[in-house]
Symmetry: C2
């Protein structure tokens, strides 16, 4: 009979945290906002009330620690984040932090012998109100001064947030290489695949990599009445043809990938003028680097063919990219064994979104699980059944204990 | 041997007018701007210098008149406009006004007996800096107080222009029904068809009607990483599919029509969010009302089918429409006979753009001809060979004389 968390204790914490920064049925806790700092002050109290060691590092990451006997032991991290997107949901991140805390309390209650320190961690700014994965990337040493000089949320917001949280040197949060035994994260799926598959637990095999381009088709602005169809160099036609063909290409030849055109803009933008320029925001994702590269080549090739066929120029500007992060086999095995012990049905899943696990995967064996959720992602209506949350917390606990036994 | 205009006299006028408001190789003479009023002051001098009667009506239209013997005679109007789009070309409109003036001088020189008054007219604001076809629609009684209250160029621009030109009651320019014998206009084609066909003269069979809609596809904003392709309600996909299919429908089933998507906008407009709303500016044109109606029905039907197939909502808001204006058979016959007499090759053409002829066609037999031009439309680079201009002016003259002989 595997050890199990205390569902009532976890539920009381979950409901209490959901009230901090509550906005409708969701929460509004952008990183280092007053709401977020209130949530962290509450979390600190809960960590201390549990008799755990509290730690706040130079990047503001909040931790509760259960020490191994040997001070020289490495650390197994469990956790996620308490910040939310503006007007987000109450499960995204928060559930993973509280399940980690509950796992530590359960291990403590059972007086298990610890070959590694256990640390439940709340990473700063996972959602990117300031930088994105700020806390987890600071901890792994991946954060750079350059990123802090040009944060996506703007320099003023970063300075204000750091001042409110007392953060002066986030790069100082980097841990010594080799000090981490691993990282395990619980999160809601924010997609429909577990429910479609009737599974209890999704064991993440990899977190997708992301490619993005600003594409611009260039033609000629002509009078939309006097210019025959065959004589036009219609930039909008190229953009539309490419969007249709690119979607077909991905669903046909890259079934494990997704593509999105989030933005389209035609210039000069009048009813009676043939568009001279059509700009598209293109993003595509794959869990495998080689596939991401092949998809990029296929999409740019298709864009060039469409441009040539429509007598248009093509401009493709890379907007940055994120490498795929495969999850560690030992983490996946620990999650699978824990789910099996609990009689829960699990399937492998790719994570289509970024998570702190992807930062940790660069420096230690890292893995994550999803539980079924509805209501999409990054909105107040996201929802997971309480039973699924408890299942997830028990699998997280079981995987951590399995890790201790290795 | 048909009567011919004096090419040198026409050329001197053309070059002189092109210098007024010159901007690069083109002209900048928006309606009732200082440049435009300077052009009209010059035109008035030329009319008076030719010994013609000068008239400025309540809408600011400038005319030179050669009277018939009988004061009760009706009037055959010849003309076009001297205003330009901002930074437009020196042929659009100006050539038609000067060719009309030159036709009157040639008829006067030949001392022909006139069964109708001949009037060379320069219509106010054909291009729509203020209202569009303002002068010609005022003259035919089609202009309404409502349009003057909400001018497309803005109320301030209209008031300022009227004040500069001394216009106080443009509706007072309406002529008595039955006072007009007809209207003939010469214009550059602003499209490639005459040159492609190797023809000297295009005899306009009709001026197209225009339908326009603001279309919006509505779906759901989803995370572009976590939402599988098959589970999306992607508004941008609907917009792209529709643009491609609509273009195919027009080129395949409506070869005499044109279609344009001048604007596209996706919301919320982020790389990583599936578009919730995709708005398109749709415009289509046909020379025949029944075809315009059939095309509208076919396009809206296709949009509904795409929306249904992509699980999207569809919103279609009509943005106003312009009825097609067929040219009068007697005007077309007069132009054809004149071109034949001069040994010029002529073909029938549809006008894809609006012209003063379309306003006049509502109240009297009206027709227009095109001469070959290059460099497109509404830009400084528009160009017509001088020989083509002289051909056009001679056909205008010949058609007017043919009209007198009817």
């Amino acid at each position: 009979m595997p050890l199990r968390i205390n569902p009532a204790r976890l539920r009381a914490d979950f409901d209490a945290l959901a009230r901090i920064g509550a906005a409708g049925v969701g929460v509004h806790r952008p990183a280092l906002s007053a709401n977020h700092l209130a949530a962290r002050a509450w979390l600190r109290e809960r960590i201390l009330a549990a008799g755990l060691e509290f730690r706040q590092d130079a990047a503001g990451n909040h931790s509760g620690i259960l020490r191994a006997a040997s001070p020289a032991a490495r650390t197994l991290l469990l956790g996620s984040h308490t910040d939310s997107v503006p007007h987000g949901g109450r499960f995204d991140g928060a559930l993973g932090v509280l399940a980690a805390l509950e796992a530590l309390r359960t291990v403590q209650d059972a007086s298990l012998e610890l070959p590694v320190h256990l640390e439940a961690i709340d990473f700063t700014d996972e959602e990117g109100a300031l930088v994105g994965l700020l806390g987890s990337r600071a901890l792994t040493g991946a954060l750079t001064p350059g990123e802090l000089a040009q944060p996506r949320g703007g320099l003023a917001a970063l300075r204000d947030g750091f001042a409110r949280a007392g953060i002066t040197d986030p790069l100082g949060a980097a841990r010594p290489p080799g000090s981490l035994a691993g990282f395990l994260e619980l999160h809601i799926e924010q997609g429909p695949r577990l429910i479609e598959a009737g599974a209890d637990i999704g064991i993440v095999s990899a977190i997708v990599g992301i490619g993005s381009f600003r594409l611009a088709f260039g033609g000629r602005a002509d009078h939309a009445g006097t210019t025959p169809m065959h004589a036009r160099r219609d930039a909008g036609r190229g953009a539309a043809e490419f969007m249709v063909r690119a979607r077909g290409l991905v669903t046909r030849d890259f079934p494990g990938c997704v593509i999105n055109f989030g933005r389209a803009a035609f210039e000069p933008g009048a009813y009676n003028i043939v568009p001279e320029r059509a700009e598209l925001a293109l993003e595509f994702r794959s869990p495998v680097q080689a596939e991401l590269d092949a998809l990029e080549a296929a999409l740019l090739g298709e864009a060039r063919r469409v441009a040539a066929a429509c007598h248009l120029e093509l401009e493709a500007v890379k907007q940055g990219c994120v490498a795929p992060a495969p999850c560690a086999p030992e983490a996946r095995a620990a999650f699978a064994a824990a789910a099996d012990d609990l009689g829960l049905r699990h399937i492998p899943l790719v994570s289509g979104a970024g998570h702190d696990t992807q930062a940790l995967a660069a420096v230690c064996p890292a893995g994550m699980i999803f539980i079924p959720s509805t209501g999409g992602s990054h909105n107040p209506g996201e929802f997971a059944e309480w039973e699924a949350c408890v299942n997830g917390a028990n699998v997280l606990l079981g995987a951590a204990i399995g890790w201790l036994d290795r």
